[in-house]
Symmetry: C2
Subunit: 333 residues, 2 copies
């Protein structure tokens, strides 16, 4: 079964009593082969269902026309979207895409990278461990582009979201709707994305000449559960804002649910990440889209440039605020 002798250029050549080189040239449309021969050869190749062996072809050319993507978990919506963007761009450029998941394990990541580097022209990766040493990345003998979770330990270009601007735009939107008492639910500040987002929030508020009392800002892990707690705190101290800007969709979701549970009107609210659930919950949640697909595009473009020997610089993607019912004043009346 598996033994099924695959048809090669050589076998076609033998059947036609010509040299393999002639077949190769004919199939590749070289004009130094007569039309008659070319037609004849292509016909037989078609009939035999000949498929060129990419391994041989790539070995000869030295280019594998394949890149690898390493992510913690494929099924996470954001990563799936990035992968989609990568595949999109890569296939347009004639590259195949190998995917691998690190499961957030540094050792797995390491094993993958070294195995893959003999098989691909370059790697796009979102790093597993946050704090582990990523030295081995530098031993990689093919170009590397990192995205989303990036590390400065690594001697490789990166593509990231402009978290600051995303947050600022979102806050600005709430201000534009006429809200002023806008609170902020955010993550712990030592993680850069949450720091940046808070800075964006503050910048927008300050530009409007608003002073932010400490109790307008709620810090904690940006989970649904925590969002509920934050809301409960506000309700308990009878201090409900006009609007909320949240550094994550889940924390926003938690807050929304808590207000609803207690039978209170939900303040205007904007999340961050634009998870698919944003448009199905009630009210539909405005959120900052991280453009996973574009991020994938960009990362892939950078990688292919690197493969082609060009010099490439770090890129920052401008995220986009998706406005839905949750933050529109008329809807909140």
């Amino acid at each position: 079964m598996v033994k099924k002798q695959n048809i090669s250029i050589a076998s076609i050549a033998k059947q036609l009593q010509v040299a393999p080189s002639t077949v190769s040239r004919a199939l590749n449309g070289s004009k130094s082969i007569s039309e008659e021969r070319t037609r004849q050869i292509k016909e037989l190749a078609q009939k035999l269902n000949y498929v060129p062996n990419q391994m041989a072809r790539n070995l000869k050319s030295g280019r594998r026309n394949t890149i690898a993507v390493v992510v913690p978990l494929i099924s996470r919506s954001f990563f799936a979207t990035v992968i989609e963007g990568i595949e999109d761009y890569a296939s347009a450029k004639g590259y195949d895409v190998i995917i691998a998941q690190s499961k957030n394990l540094v050792e797995t990541e390491q094993r993958l990278m070294s195995k893959l580097s003999g098989k691909v022209d370059g790697v796009i990766a979102s790093l597993a461990g946050q704090d582990a040493s990523h030295e081995y990345y530098n031993a990689l003998n093919v170009p590397l582009v990192q995205f989303d979770r990036t590390s400065t330990d690594i001697n490789a270009v990166s593509v990231r979201i402009n978290d600051f601007m995303g947050a600022k735009t979102a806050t600005q939107h709430l201000l534009d709707q006429g809200f002023r008492r806008i609170y902020h639910l955010c993550g712990l500040q030592y993680v850069s994305i949450w720091y940046d987002r808070q800075q964006g929030y503050l910048a927008a508020m300050h530009e409007h000449g608003l002073r932010i009392p400490g109790q307008w800002i709620f810090q904690g892990a940006p989970t649904e559960e925590r969002g509920g707690e934050f809301a409960r705190d506000m309700i308990a101290r009878n201090d409900i804002p006009e609007a909320l800007f949240c550094s994550g969709d889940y924390v926003a979701l938690g807050a929304i649910k808590e207000f609803q549970k207690q039978g209170l009107a939900v303040p205007a609210i904007v999340g961050f990440a634009n998870e698919p659930f944003c448009e199905v919950i009630e009210p539909a949640l405005s959120s900052v889209d991280q453009f996973g697909s574009i991020m994938g595009h960009t990362a892939c473009e950078m990688l292919i440039d690197l493969i082609d020997g060009k010099t490439v610089e770090n890129k920052v993607i401008e995220p986009k605020l998706i406005i839905r019912k949750s933050s529109i004043r008329s809807e909140k009346q």
Copy 2:
């Protein structure tokens, strides 16, 4: 930059004044090489950061240790989950996974398949067009496993969900909760999955000795919009069921939103597919999980068996009902 002369077995051999074959054997741990030499060679390889060229290796061995997955769209939650399952199993078996999206275009699918078949040992695919001719699949010269959307035109094994049982179990669950007037929102019957699900619904109802009037069943495209329309119909004719079994999560979502919009109590409701949004909407939607991850596992296992020359039969995955607030009687009171 790119020219960076890659270290090969030959270059290591030259530096050490030995034959390439010796290096190859040493690196592969052949015991016919003296310990001393082996140590020496491995050391240098390590130092030079040598990575075997998989192209050459695979060309020689005839095995590519790579499979391809072709899906309509990577970012769709179900497909991402299946891919995750495939990657999981494949990597454990030493295979790499190439992904490609057909974008639901038959021509793209065709192009992908023929290009990939020279590069991989086998293909797992969810078909693009439902009705188009899939003849070219049969021309594929590597094993093929189809999943989810399958076609009998194709001479290849498939792995599917037991839609009938999934639907029956879901309906049974509603019956167990004490509901009797259970309506069914379903898709058009010429598509097998929707036919099967309706049959499952009917079977459960019949086993309870219930007769199903025609107006208990609503047929149409299983979209959110259509779900809303169905609910509106019920409300208009003042004929609200105790419970609803829906053949899809989106159609269920549409119905839920419509009831809520009109200020009515939402009947007990169960969806199908277990989309991620099920657990974040209010009420959290009970649904039938299609076990994408297991489906991926299974498909991959079948494919590798095929590659190994074993005979393989079609498989059916038993889906699992995930019970949430939307269908629990006490919660609905």
